[in-house]
C-alpha cells in the first residue's frame, strides 16, 4: 500500500493532470490524512490500471474529478468555494459517499442560490436605473417625439389664439381638434364671451409660438413651456404686441397631441 500511492501520485504528476485535480488531492490530504489521500488518488482498481501506464493513472485520478466539475465547474467555483472540499472524498471513500453526496447537494444549492441571488440583484439594479425620474423623462432624449409634441402644441396654440372678426367659426373648429379635457371646456367658456366683442369691435389677434421647450415627456403625457407673441389689432388701428408664457399639458390621443391644460405664467 505504501508504494502504490507513491507511484500513483508520481504518475499523476507526470500525466500532467490539471491543477484542479492536484488541488483536489491536496485538499483531500489535508482533510482525511495521508492514507485517505492514497485511496482517493489510487482507488481500489489502481493496481491493475496503473500498469497500463500514465494515461490510465490520469484517468483514475480524473475519476473523482468528474463529479467535481459537474458540481461547480471552474466557472462556478467562485460561487461554491466549499464545494471543492468534497470533490475527492465521495468516490474515494466508499463509506463516506452519503456524506459526500450531501456536500455535493450543498455545493449545487449554494451555486444555484448565488446565481439566482446575483441575477435578481442585477434585475433589480437594472430596474432601478431605468425607473429614475431622469430616465423616465424622454424630453430631448427621444428627439422625434420631442419635436413632434413641440410642433403640434405650438401650432395648436397659434391656431386657437388667432382669430379675425369674420373667422371665429374657423377658430372654434380648430379648437375642437387641438384641445381636450379641461382646456377644451375653459376655452369654450372664454371664447363664447369673446366672440361678441370680436365681431362688434372687429378685433384681430395673431399669435405665434416663438419658443417651445419640452419640460417633461413620459409616454403619452407631456408638459411644455411655450413663449407666445401676440399681436392684437382693433379695426384698422395699429397692432400692439404682447408676450405670454404658458405651461401646457398635452396628452397623446387619437394619434395627435391634444392640449388638455393651459396655465398662464
Amino acid at each position: 500500500m505504501t508504494r502504490v500511492p507513491g507511484k500513483a501520485t508520481e504518475e499523476h504528476a507526470e500525466s500532467g493532470a490539471p491543477p484542479a485535480a492536484q488541488g483536489t488531492v491536496a485538499q483531500d490530504t489535508a482533510g482525511g490524512g495521508p492514507e485517505a489521500a492514497g485511496e482517493a488518488a489510487g482507488g481500489p482498481e489502481v493496481p491493475g490500471e496503473a500498469a497500463g501506464g500514465p494515461e490510465a493513472a490520469g484517468e483514475a485520478a480524473g475519476g473523482p474529478e468528474v463529479p467535481g466539475e459537474a458540481a461547480g465547474g471552474p466557472e462556478a467555483a467562485d460561487g461554491a468555494g466549499g464545494g471543492s472540499d468534497g470533490h475527492g472524498a465521495p468516490d474515494g471513500r466508499g463509506s463516506g459517499s452519503r456524506f459526500g453526496g450531501r456536500w455535493h447537494a450543498a455545493a449545487f444549492a449554494a451555486a444555484v442560490a448565488v446565481l439566482l441571488l446575483g441575477g435578481s440583484a442585477f434585475f433589480y439594479g437594472a430596474h432601478q436605473l431605468r425607473s429614475t425620474p431622469s430616465a423616465q423623462n424622454r424630453a430631448l432624449t427621444d428627439t422625434v417625439a420631442t419635436e413632434r409634441v413641440s410642433g403640434e402644441v405650438g401650432d395648436g396654440l397659434a391656431r386657437i389664439f388667432s382669430y379675425t372678426p369674420t373667422g371665429a367659426d374657423a377658430t372654434a373648429r380648430s379648437a375642437r381638434t387641438v384641445l381636450g379635457g379641461r382646456a377644451a371646456r375653459q376655452y369654450d367658456d372664454l371664447f363664447a364671451q369673446l366672440r361678441t366683442n370680436l365681431e362688434t369691435q372687429k378685433i384681430t389677434l395673431n399669435t405665434q409660438a416663438v419658443r417651445t421647450g419640452v419640460i417633461e415627456l413620459d409616454g403619452d403625457t407631456a408638459r411644455l413651456l411655450v413663449l407666445l407673441d401676440q399681436t392684437s389689432r382693433r379695426d384698422e388701428g395699429a397692432g400692439t404686441s404682447a408676450a405670454a408664457q404658458l405651461t401646457v399639458t398635452a396628452r397623446f390621443q387619437e394619434n395627435r397631441w391634444r392640449i388638455v391644460d393651459i396655465k398662464a405664467r
Partner: protein, 180 residues
C-alpha cells in the same frame, strides 16, 4: 475504473438535473447581468441626467442673476459671478463696480422666482445647452413700493468640469420672428 463508471451512472440523473438547474440559474444571472450592464451604460440615461442637471443649474443661475439687495451688493454680485462662465462672466466682472454703485444709489431690492423652465437644446459632448425660463421679478424701490414683472429669458449654458453655468442670458424678444 468500473467503479467510477458505476458511480457516475448511479448519480447521473441527479447530476443531470443539478447541472441543468445550475445552467438555468447561470443563464438567468448572465441575462440579467447583461441587462444591468446595458442600463448602467445607457447613453440616453446619461444624457437625461445631464439635461436635468443643466435645467436645475439654469433655473438657479437665472434666479441668482435676478436677485440683488442693495444692502448686500457684494454678496449678491459674488453669487452672480459664481453662477456664470465665459462671456457673461467677463461682462459681469468688468461692469461690476459701476453696477454696484448704481444699485446702491437706487436702493432697490430685487427678488425673482422661477415659474417654469425647459431645456430646448443639449449637446452633451460639447457641454452646451440652451434653456427657456419664465420668471417673476419683484422690485422693491427705496420708498418700499414694490412692482412685479413677468419675464421670459433665453439662456445658454456651458459645462465647466461637472457644473453647468450660464454663459449667456437675455430677454426673449417680443415681436421677433418665430424660431425654435
Amino acid at each position: 475504473m468500473k467503479l467510477a463508471v458505476r458511480a457516475l451512472a448511479g448519480t447521473r440523473p441527479i447530476l443531470a438535473a443539478a447541472l441543468a438547474l445550475t445552467l438555468v440559474a447561470g443563464g438567468f444571472a448572465a441575462w440579467t447581468g447583461l441587462g444591468w450592464y446595458e442600463a448602467s451604460h445607457d447613453e440616453s440615461a446619461a444624457y437625461a441626467v445631464q439635461r436635468d442637471r443643466a435645467l436645475a443649474a439654469a433655473e438657479q443661475a437665472v434666479q441668482n442673476l435676478n436677485t440683488l439687495d442693495h444692502t448686500k451688493v457684494d454678496q449678491g454680485l459674488d453669487l452672480w459671478e459664481s453662477s456664470t462662465t465665459g462671456d457673461l462672466h467677463n461682462q459681469l466682472v468688468q461692469g461690476r463696480s459701476e453696477f454696484a454703485d448704481q444699485v446702491k444709489a437706487a436702493k432697490t431690492v430685487t427678488t425673482a422666482r422661477v415659474l417654469s423652465g425647459a431645456v430646448t437644446e443639449l449637446d452633451d459632448r460639447a457641454g452646451r445647452a440652451r434653456v427657456l425660463v419664465a420668471l417673476r421679478i419683484t422690485v422693491k424701490a427705496a420708498d418700499d413700493k414694490s412692482s412685479e414683472k413677468d419675464s421670459r429669458m433665453l439662456g445658454e449654458l456651458t459645462r465647466t468640469g461637472t457644473h453647468w453655468k450660464l454663459s449667456a442670458l437675455g430677454q426673449a424678444p417680443v415681436g421677433g420672428t418665430a424660431s425654435g
